[in-house]
């Protein structure tokens, strides 16, 4: 059955967005990522204009991350205090990121810098996560190896006890790293879940299951803001498409959360690392193989 999408101005077989939503929601509930890296290009492949694809995806993530956060919160896996501090940082970082894009665009060749940053970030994060999880799986890592960094973090003021995560940090640490991820995410035009998850795991030393829930919580707020801005300023959110996607993704997020509880933290990290590396390889192929079409709609990422 086909539905017409009033903002995307195209018709779509409803099974496609529902199925895609289910798959991306599953990833979201499992790993605490928004899944925009997968959803947006696949929507474009289905004939949705790139600007509408990105904006509608953020609307859909609001539903998927609400569903996922709810599922993780039920079993006590959302650290709201940590999520809030990361959000404050992310918000400030986003403001700087937008300015950074302006400067890059004025310098010219912005696309080149953005694409390269994206590929490098994905590659480094994916490789590091994979190696680290495989090693720690073998030797059951002993406590606090990076003593210099840890000592520095402990010496900062505003030490706060994050009970749910079972860690103590200066409140400045999540704010600063949230800000760093916010800047990069704004520059690269992505949600930043794949960066936020490793920051929480490796720098904030949070347990993987709490990372997933907390990441979804802060993605939820980011995407509410993005959806509103996209609808208000660019008129790019397609409500019907979002509803079709969220029919799948809200269910997928629940299934992912249930399934994730059956996996160990290290297993989750290894799978996420592999997905990030697959996305990196896909982008490298896109960059090096001659595209079938040399023109595309303007206005998207």
């Amino acid at each position: 059955m086909y539905f017409y999408l009033p903002v995307a101005l195209t018709s779509i077989n409803i099974l496609m967005p529902i199925g895609l939503g289910l798959a991306v929601g599953l990833l979201s509930g499992l790993f605490g990522v928004g899944g925009g890296f997968l959803m947006t290009p696949l929507l474009i492949m289905m004939g949705i204009p790139s600007t509408v694809a990105a904006a509608t995806d953020s609307n859909q993530i609001v539903a998927a991350s609400t569903s996922g956060t709810y599922a993780h919160w039920k079993v006590g896996n959302v650290d709201f205090k940590m999520g809030l501090h990361l959000l404050i940082g992310g918000f400030i970082g986003g403001l700087f990121g937008v300015q950074a894009i302006k400067i890059l665009k004025e310098m010219g060749n912005a696309d080149f810098v953005i694409k390269m940053t994206y590929v490098l970030m994905l590659g480094i994060v994916g490789t590091y996560m994979l190696i680290e999880s495989l090693q720690s799986k073998k030797k059951n890592r002993t406590e606090e190896e990076e003593s210099v960094l840890v000592r520095f973090l402990k010496s900062l003021p505003l030490q706060t006890d994050y009970q749910k995560s079972g860690v103590t940090h200066s409140a400045l640490v999540p704010i600063a790293f949230g800000g760093f991820v916010g800047i990069l995410a704004a520059i690269m035009g992505v949600g930043g879940g794949f960066l936020m998850v490793p920051v929480m795991v490796y720098i904030l030393r949070m347990p993987m299951h709490v990372v997933v829930g907390t990441s979804l919580f802060q993605i939820l707020f980011n995407c509410i803001e993005v959806t509103f801005l996209q609808a208000y300023t660019n008129h790019n959110v397609d409500f019907i498409l979002a509803v079709l996607l969220l029919l799948g993704s809200t269910v997928g997020a629940q299934v992912g959360a249930v399934f994730g509880r059956k996996l160990k933290g290290e297993q989750l990290k290894i799978i996420l690392a592999c997905i990030v590396l697959v996305v990196t390889v896909k982008i490298i192929f896109e960059l090096t193989l001659t595209p079938s079409q040399l023109l595309s709609q303007a206005g998207g990422h």
């Binding site: 609307n59 694409k115 609808a231 960059l287």
Partner: protein
């Protein structure tokens, strides 16, 4: 004086007689060669279940003339991103191109290939065929004519991939009917064609010249829920955004609650 008046009356009568005869003759001549055209739609409604339509064009023309049917929107402009090689080997967006005087929809069908049946000047005047369209459009920025041709071909490829541009030959069905011929053709109207006004034009060609044209407008518009949502997205973005967010939040919580009940064992 009286004589002069009579002469002028005679002149006026003669003039009127000549005019009427000429008009009558003209009418007869036109009716014998008159090109007729009718389309099954002059209005296509886009509702919730719209997945394109079919426009059938039929009519009659003088026997022996070649026919061309063109369906196009008004000229507009479009800005597209162009991909090129950065640092010698990486494909990425390297700027934008502005395509001016381009219709958003451009479908051409002919009894034969228009290139073989009409003079180039005639094709240019009526913008028939990709070559004429290429001469008609402006592309900026391009360095030279070769570059314009290259990017025009990419533009056609881009439009053809969404079924918005097509040039097809020998697809008009004709049958001889006395000294006239009946013709008909069916176009699959692409769902990608945006709401707006389109014109269907039939050209009759004889001796490489266009001798007659007939045209009809087709209006494509959104109706019902589709129209309400599109209008709201455009005119009331803030409310539209808030409704979208609230529904997404509601759906997320709703599904969460359902799973809580159904999946209590976990």
């Amino acid at each position: 004086m009286n004589f002069k008046l009579q002469i002028s009356k005679f002149k006026i009568t003669a003039f009127l007689f000549i005019c009427c005869s000429a008009a009558l003759l003209l009418c007869c001549a036109v009716s014998s060669a008159e090109l007729t055209m009718d389309a099954n739609h002059d209005h296509i409604n886009i509702d919730f279940f719209y997945h394109g339509s079919e426009v059938s064009v039929k009519g009659s023309a003088a026997a022996g003339s070649e026919l061309i049917v063109k369906i196009a929107s008004q000229d507009g402009h479009q800005i597209l991103k162009k991909k090129g090689k950065a640092a010698g080997f990486l494909w990425m967006n390297v700027g934008e191109l502005k395509f001016e005087h381009t219709p958003s929809l451009y479908l051409i069908a002919g009894t034969k290939n228009p290139d073989d049946t009409i003079d180039r000047e005639e094709m240019d005047r009526h913008v028939i065929g990709y070559q004429a369209l290429e001469r008609h459009v402006e592309i900026n920025p391009v360095a030279n004519a070769d570059e314009k041709t290259r990017w025009f071909q990419e533009f056609v490829k881009f439009k053809e991939s969404s079924n918005l541009y097509a040039v097809i030959h020998e697809t008009i069905f004709t049958s001889v009917n006395g000294n006239r011929q009946d013709y008909s053709i069916k176009f699959a109207w692409p769902y990608q064609a945006a709401p707006g006004d389109y014109e269907v034009t039939v050209y009759a060609v004889r001796d490489r010249k266009i001798t007659e044209t007939a045209s009809k407008n087709v209006v494509v518009e959104q109706v019902g829920i589709v129209k309400s949502l599109a209008d709201m997205a455009k005119n009331n973005g803030a409310l539209y955004g808030i409704v979208s967010i609230v529904i997404a939040l509601g759906a997320g919580f709703g599904v969460g609650m359902i799973f809580r009940k159904g999946g209590g064992a976990h």
